[in-house]
Amino acid sequence: MIWVAWRQQRLTVLATLGLGAAIAAAMTVLRLVATSYMDDHGIAGCATAGPGCDSNALHEFYEAFGGIQTPLILLLFALPPVVGAFVGGPLFAREIERGTHVFALTQAIGRTRWWATKLAVGALPALAGMLLLGLVATWAFDPLAYLTSSPVRTPGFETQGLVVAAYTVLAFAIGSTAGLLLRNTLGAMVVTIVLYIVLLVGVGGFLREHYAEPVGRTESIGLDGPTEDEQTLSDTWQVDHAYLDAAGNEVEPQFKPDCGGPEECMRAQGIDAFYIAYHPADRFWRFQLTETALFAGVALLVVGAGAWAVRRVSN
């Protein structure tokens, strides 16, 4: 059965791996060119502007490389749902559309083995490829942290590390199971992309910040210029902020005309301090593991639904 599944899917599997390899190659070139540029302009290893990291030089670096990195990030964003829709979606739906599943299901091999083998032959190369791609992205984008702002923030988080593979596995699971249920390739592809977007927006917008208790920090207002603290904060993911009075109660700032400069204005309203809550950049791997486990768990449920659905497939 493995040979049959491979023979059926080899084109899509190889195309997926080829696309992944091309993106990995592009990222490798980007890293090499960017690090050599940073060395030449004295900003090697700079993630934020500050002492030893000239802000003008960093800005020029951004101008030169931001436009090259952005399409790569977009590709990495799009790849998981595309693989899910174009490899997972037709996996069973196209067979059912063409009626060839009647051939497979009336041979000596059982339908569960047919389903599991096709799933494995389609998903495992994609999983391995995307895992590799995510790790290459982590390595390639690491010196470019100034461009992506923070690895724990969108879009740095979604395009690096383990989650690229986790997203792909879930999208693939949705595509294949939707194909079994809908018996329609196009429908399965649409369902995959829509569900994927809903999940990713939901997780990124509402769930991810709760993976850990954010770090809280209160600073009194009125300090001139960026402090050293603020520099380290610039590669974090800020999830909450508030204005506090001297007693630590939250104050809703009113923007009134004629109250003077911003600081005077705030003091006049009793604002004494500024509070922020954030996730530091070094939570990257912890958040990656949490999100990978979450998506893998959901994928398992969807695959389970597929195992149930394949028993209902008829002629």
Binding site: V4, T100, F103, T106, A108, N315
Partner: protein, 289 residues
């Protein structure tokens, strides 16, 4: 060990809106070539899908050599060829044979290759590029390569031209003669099967109208032709299957094993087509009433 290749007991399958097959009971003895006949939509494909394990029965049961299809692959000894002759269109013929080998135990590669060679289909031809006749021959080779004890073919001739039909039937019958396997062929055109079948299962409106050995079925019926009687028609102890009249003439099919002694009528044994048509008409009248 069951002496029946296929047995259905009160078998029924309900689809979302209506029953596709209901209260279907019959046996298929081993070593026979059976025709599964019925109008389009009568439930022939449903019956075959149930036997092949593609569908699960809503009620009753079907067994193949005593085994109930459980959806874990084809029941032991059965090879089924679906109506559309499903084959992977991007595979070559050789790759399709390899798929047959990979997906089956007891695959006879030499035999399957021999059948392909006989059909003069090149092994490196893509399935998608084959003609209907060639495609059917390849599908048949794939089914026969499994060395089945029961071969079940759903409308195998439906999309073939007359020459290809003859070709496919000749191949099939040669293999049947050689191996002695049981065959169940479905068709909505009886004439296609009349010459080759010695057993009949007639399905009408989702249930079995008659089933049995063709010679016995014919011997168990009489076809009467005579002048249309003025009053009602009385045939004594014999059961009327169907009667039709023109202004002057009446034709009546009786089911009886007794000798018929009715002097007003010409009595003869019906041929298979007359028998089947009478049952189909009888059903049409019942559902119209």
């Amino acid at each position: 060990m069951s002496t029946h290749a296929l047995e259905a007991r009160a078998l029924g399958k309900k689809y979302r809106r209506a029953w596709g097959l209901r209260d279907c009971t019959f046996q298929l003895p081993t070593g026979r070539v059976s025709a599964l006949v019925g109008p389009n939509g009568a439930g022939k494909s449903t019956l075959m899908a149930l036997a092949a394990g593609l569908l699960r029965p809503t009620e009753g049961e079907v067994t193949v050599f005593g085994n109930t299809p459980d959806g874990r692959g084809s029941p032991d000894g059965l090879a089924f060829l679906g109506q559309d002759k499903p084959l992977y269109p991007t595979f070559t013929v050789a790759e399709m044979l390899r798929a047959g080998r990979e997906l089956n135990t007891g695959w006879d590669q030499e035999y399957a290759e021999g059948l392909i060679a006989e059909a003069r289909v090149p092994l490196n031809a893509k399935i998608g590029s084959l003609s209907g006749g060639q495609r059917t021959r390849v599908a048949l080779a794939l089914a026969l390569g499994r060395r089945p004890r029961l071969l079940m073919l759903d409308e195998p001739l439906a999309d073939l031209d007359p020459l290809a039909r003859e070709d496919v039937m000749r191949t099939l019958m040669a293999e049947v003669a050689e191996t002695g396997m049981t065959v169940l062929l479905s068709s909505h055109v009886l004439a296609e099967l009349e010459e080759v079948c010695d057993h009949l299962v007639l399905i009408v409106d989702g249930s079995v109208a008659i089933s049995g050995d063709v010679d016995e079925l014919l011997a168990g019926h009489r076809l009467l032709i005579g002048a249309k009687p003025a009053g009602g028609m009385d045939f004594g102890p014999h059961t009327v299957v169907q009667a039709r009249t023109t202004p002057r003439q009446a034709t009546v099919l009786l089911r009886t094993t007794e000798p018929v002694d009715l002097p007003d009528w010409d009595s003869d044994q019906p041929n298979l087509e007359e028998l089947v048509l009478s049952y189909l008409r009888a059903n049409g009248e019942r559902s119209a009433a």
